[in-house]
Amino acid sequence: MFFHKYASPKIFYGFAGKLIPWFAGVTSILLAIGLYQGLFVAPPDYQQGESVRIMFIHVPAAWLSMFAYMVLASAGAIGLIWNMRLAEMAATAAAPIGASFTLLALVTGSLWGKPMWGTWWAWDARLTSELLLFFLYIGFMALQAAIDDPKRAARAGALLALVGVVNIPVIHFSVQWWNTLHQPASLSTINKIGAPAIHPSLLIPLLIMALAFTLFFVTLLLVRLRAEILHRERYTGWVTELVKP
C-alpha cells in the first residue's frame, strides 16, 4: 500500500519537512482573515454584545482540544495494533499541543463565563469533562516521561489515551445529557427553517478560525514529529549520516 512508504520514519522526515512551510503559510493567511473577520466584520451579538467575539477563540480551541485528542488516541491505537513506530511518535508529538489548547479553551471559557454567567467557574458537566480532558493530556505526558523504554512508554501511553476516549462523547453531549450552565452547540443545532442556529455573519469567522487552529495544530505536529523521529532513530545510520558535519 502507498502509505507504507510514508510510514517509514526516514521518508516521512523528509516529506514532513517539505510540507511544513506550506501548512505554515496557509495557517498564517487563515489566521489573518479569521482575526479580521472576527474582530472587525462580525457584528456584536444582540444579547451578548461585543463579548461574543470570545467565541472565535473559545470554540476553535475547544474543538481542537478534542480533535487533537482523537488524533493522539488514534495514533496510539495504530501504534498498539500494527506496531507502527511513526504512529507512536505522532501520539507523543500531539500531546503537548493538545494540552495547551485545552488550557486555552478553559481559560477563554472562564473569561467568557464571568461577564455572561457571573462566575469564572462552575462544576458543570461541560466544564468538568473539559477539565478532565486536560488532566488526561497531562497524565499521558507524565506517564511517557516516567518510562525510559520508548516502546513501553508508547504502549502505556496509548492504553491510557484509549481509556480516555470515553470522555470525548461525554464532553460533546454533556450539554444535552445534563442540565448545564453551558449553552448548547451552535453548529450542529438546526433551527426551524433547517439552517444552523448561528447566523452566517458569526458562523463564517468561526469556521475560518477553527480551520486556522486545526492547520496550526497540523503544522506544529509535523515539526514535533520530525524532532521525535530524530530522537527515536538517533542510533540509526540515516540519522547519523544526517547530522554529520
Binding site: R53, S100, L104, F216, R226, L230, H231, V239, T240, L242
Partner: protein, 57 residues
C-alpha cells in the same frame, strides 16, 4: 467606529482582549516549545556523533 471604541469592546475589554491575548500566548508558546525541542534533539545528536568519533579514534 473609532479606535477607542474598538479597544473598549463595549465594556468587555478585559474579557475579549484577555481571550485574544491568551490565544496569542498559546500560539507563540507552541512555536517556541516545538523549536526548542528540535534544538535539544539536534544537540543530543551532535554529542552522540562526537562520542562515536572519539570511540573510533
Amino acid at each position: 467606529m473609532n479606535w477607542s471604541e474598538f479597544f473598549a469592546m463595549g465594556n468587555y475589554a478585559l474579557y475579549v482582549w484577555g481571550s485574544y491575548g491568551a490565544a496569542a500566548l498559546v500560539l507563540i508558546f507552541n512555536m517556541l516549545a516545538a523549536c526548542r525541542r528540535m534544538r535539544s534533539v539536534r544537540r543530543e545528536l551532535q554529542s552522540l556523533t562526537r562520542l562515536n568519533r572519539a570511540e573510533s579514534e
